[in-house]
Symmetry: D2
């Protein structure tokens, strides 16, 4: 598996460049009999789509998905599901000037030295455009997990730059451009972004994702722990620089008497663990948090070098998100869905026969 395949049993193999003819993927290992249509996938793609507010890139991509295989009369057949998204709004002339230089914070320098060839148009393969593919594949996983286990996977922005966003309610998320779970803070976020743009700068963000109703037992110690695979999936998203499960870095200054979640017949008394113990899901909510770096493409002069190693000053133009974190929530949800689905299948491969008379307690008291 040469880098573009995710998962062991439920696999996503991705292809495509920002300004090539198309992006897409092959989803292999989906159990047969799942009702899935292009509309199911489109719904998720539209949540991530560029051009939906003034705070994100103005590239206009309809991101229309076509299912090329793996379904029959609306149901999955157990065979590979190929998803195709044609690129339509490739203004590659915008990127012409970056051919000979390496943009700071981008993959230009590393791709060039690794491959000796680089599709510079819009970042080519390193573009976050590839994440549309993840969202499309994740839509299939999401639907299967929901139908088979009632699993609900939802994410939100919990911090934008210096502004922490208090969680007020899930219903707010779909009603603003930030995926903020809090309607009252939205004007502040908008002003903040306007100011960032006015300063010709960009800013980071923190995204949280929660999976509810995951059964106890998923995860394959000692290396393919559920949390390890989640960390892998999240860190594979463009711009992610940190991943936390449960209390995350909060555990550094935490006491064991606080951290260890007590068990009661009515459920776990707390969820510092974030739903994973020993690398296996506990039945509590899976809680994941990630740090998204500020967009590297900013309309300011920055120092760099060219292909001859000579110093240059350069300024990125083109259509860029001033905060890539704003569109990251659906991607993070998709990645969590993909990991959970893979582990659902891995779990039942080995443990389908296991029967334990011990009652399973709810994820939380109440």
């Amino acid at each position: 598996m040469s880098g573009s395949t995710l998962g062991l049993l439920f696999t996503v193999t991705s292809f495509g460049e920002s300004h090539g003819p198309a992006i897409g993927c092959i989803v292999d290992g989906c159990p047969p009999g799942l009702a899935i249509t292009e509309a199911d996938i489109q719904l998720e793609l539209d949540r991530r789509k560029p051009g939906t507010s003034r705070h994100v890139t103005q590239r206009k991509e309809p991101d229309t998905v076509e299912i090329l295989s793996g379904t029959f009369e609306g149901l999955t057949t157990g065979h590979p599901i190929a998803l195709l998204i044609r690129n339509t709004d490739q203004r590659s002339q915008d990127y012409g000037k970056i051919v000979e230089t390496f943009r700071p914070g981008h993959a230009d320098y590393t791709y060039w030295h690794k491959y000796g060839i680089r599709d510079h148009r819009g970042g080519g393969r390193s573009s976050a455009r590839e994440t549309a593919v993840r969202v499309a594949a994740g839509a299939i996983a999401k639907k299967w997990l929901r139908q088979h286990f009632g699993i609900v996977i939802r994410g939100y922005m919990s911090q934008l730059g210096e502004i922490a966003i208090p969680f007020k309610g899930w219903q707010h998320i779909s009603e603003n451009a930030f995926f903020a779970p809090n309607d009252e803070i939205v004007p502040q976020l908008e002003n903040y972004m306007d100011q960032i743009r006015a300063e010709r700068d960009s800013i980071g963000a923190r995204i949280d994702v929660v999976a509810e109703n995951v059964p106890v037992g998923w995860g394959e110690p000692v290396y393919d722990r559920l949390d390890a695979d989640i960390a892998h999936a999240m860190m594979s998203i463009n711009a992610v620089k940190g991943v936390e499960i449960g209390d995350g870095f909060g555990v550094v200054a935490q006491r064991g008497s606080v951290h260890g979640d007590e068990l009661t017949p009515k459920g776990f008394a707390s969820n510092h663990a974030g739903g994973v113990l020993g690398g296996i899901s506990t039945g509590q909510d899976i809680r994941v948090s990630m740090a998204i770096k500020p967009t590297s493409s900013i309309p300011q002069e920055r120092a760099s070098i060219d292909k001859q190693g000579e110093p240059v000053m350069m300024q990125t133009t083109g259509r860029h998100d001033p905060c890539v974190g704003i569109r990251a929530t659906p991607i993070a949800e998709a990645m969590l869905a993909l990991v959970l689905m893979d582990h659902a299948l891995r779990h039942r491969a080995q443990n389908a026969d296991v029967h334990v008379s011990t009652p399973r307690i709810p994820g939380h008291i109440g």
Copy 2:
């Protein structure tokens, strides 16, 4: 690969329980011709060994490694290297009482429901004893990386509970029980740990690891990015709840004009990225940080349930580290070495022919 194998080309397949006859692993994919002896491996194992100070578990394990295969006249042959560490100090009577209950913060509940059977002795497979295997395997990777690329991988404790540990110098690390890079702070750390123990509690820690001299170009986008595989490896270590690359969660409130590391002919002007761009090493130091949760086994009464689902109060006895982070540094180094080695091989598989006339700049100015 069912959970106990790490890596794609340089693989570690691990086995063993805390109180079984032995632990060990098979390291497959090591290039031939590397001089490696049991002494090389023992050196690293001794750094992680229990019983070395009053701040760690008093279990006495010599952790003597035996090489069973894969070397001939002191050199690797290209064939699987089997490493065997016999368990010698298994006082399983200490653990008898936990058979019927699930310790809070431990994998007892999840293992029981997943497998329907549980080797409760010392945590069985979920014990951190397995990490000795990682250290042993990592010693091979470390040596190869050092010989072939001059790569140096070193870690340290950067925070113990509330106490941040300022980096003073690498030379201090081997001179105290904490892997603290600062001799002056050691008395404070010792007092702190004495107090934690006196309170019958445990505490978390933060560990940082740095790899120097990693060449530009390692990492396989879009899923097997170098940072994604590092996150996977680190999060697979017992008790790790968070992983950061470079500035990590610091990027959330960072501006793009600060974060994007500028390039100059003399090297990168900064290293906010932590040595990875677009999932590929930049030639800068790889900087990784991780959060270790407080030990779950503490000598306090805690609420839980038993196998019948009835509420119980329980208190963990036995020999436990009050801060598992104290012995985590060699493990984190080993994991980073294993990931880098796997990617070194993956890189040359695909890109051995690539020649670029563009000069490679140093990882930092100087």
Copy 3:
């Protein structure tokens, strides 16, 4: 990897059904810098294309390939290469009658019980139409192997039913519809096929493939031996029931004094081994032979059962090859190319540093 991915480092992930919108694949792991165009791939596809003589299916598929990603200005970039072939001549009404019954010799019964759902149109996923994808992917591998090592991979039909086909010369193969290396025998083959069709029956065939100029050293013991991976790849082709390396089943009655190929400074004195010893290429020609079963779809009444388990008599109609072996040669070549390419990369991953002063002898004396 859920069944539709071949290879470890140079991977092909395949999708598509006989009568769905398209078939295709993602080729991942191709080294950067290889000149590859749609024309290169089309050339190989055209060799396998249906409808080229009266002895094969009359389905008219242009099998036009589109490269969707992974190349830039005509060169591979090191990123996944997606290949798309639209289906155009799907007369699915021809297949309507087989929905409720299981055709003898086909995958109908097994697919139905495995998946509980079946795209019956033209065999759906089990159709040999999928092999077009293999040929397309193999074209890339073939070109890389030829450019980097001068490897030439060629196959031919060595037996059609009872008729053994003596090898006369490579130049004949492209000049007849059978890939027969012997122009004189072609009229006999044509008469034979006409007779088979007149009898409303089908017939098996034997295909041989040879790879020349493979360097010594490829193959990964003890399980991923070169010959083991070749056997896997060949047996994964529809209708293949047997695979031989070198003398194959001829070794059963062979003496060791005959079989073991002697070495001389001028080369190997013989090639009973078929170019593989201990699972590793020797530098001799890789010689592979395979048995292709007769087409299962024949216009005769045959006994079967329906979905209710009731006995039925059925007769397959539609457009079928009376000998699927006739078009199998390009597929077999492609599979050998894919395996060799994967092993070329695996070999250099682990052994790029190996230098041996011992001279490498030619594959054969002369």
Copy 4:
């Protein structure tokens, strides 16, 4: 996975050289709750053991297996099972003379050029001694398959050199040194072997293996077909040069009207397919046949070259089987068991939810 791991979900990772301290493996992915002891494994190992008759190598290896992990109170725990077999009868002086030369028919030349280093003692890693590990791992798979599905896997020698061995009954196999299913022919086989030895030569053999009671549905098209994985596993056994499923090479001259097995409500009317259609098990017996080459080590002078490329005449001494096929039957059974077990788990991972009302017919009429 670097060559020494077999399987995807039920994996065997093998280690060890002929004359090193030990051989062994890690079996990962075994479902929990299987009763398995060293005695279960020893039983199978003893069937393959050297020194049991005058027709096999006189090396005296007790081949005593130790379970190092993965079981608790006699039951598998779902964690890796490490198996250790110490080497005891290593007379490495016997092999001293082959250090500087390459034995014809052996892996000496290929190992030397691939790795640049070679443990020449007894063939090192390329020795058939490694197959003991396969038999040990296979014992676990065999037991699980028998308990869960009633699957019986049995092999036998069907041909020794020129002597075809008519199948008379399973009960004969354990009663002679050849695994011949026919007591009457045993004296002839013994005379034949005495003659081969008298001629200082060696001879090939054909081994057949049958798996009964395999359910319909196992196998993962299009690449990881059950038959493809069987071909891979069998061809990975030392000395195997050909593999057949069902009628194998017999299909070349077979008509479709003969080959396609008809279905009736009482079962399949025949089994030309060998129990696999479309890469998926049919419920018929899985029938596999393989060709084993004659032992390459024979006490005759043969031409070769030395490390300097100079011509030499050499004669292999040491303790060798004059027909390696004689001890191959338990190995072939083990490999078939390992493949079936892996596919049993893969099947239920994806298809555990599939329910089909269509009756499953027996593998054969009667």
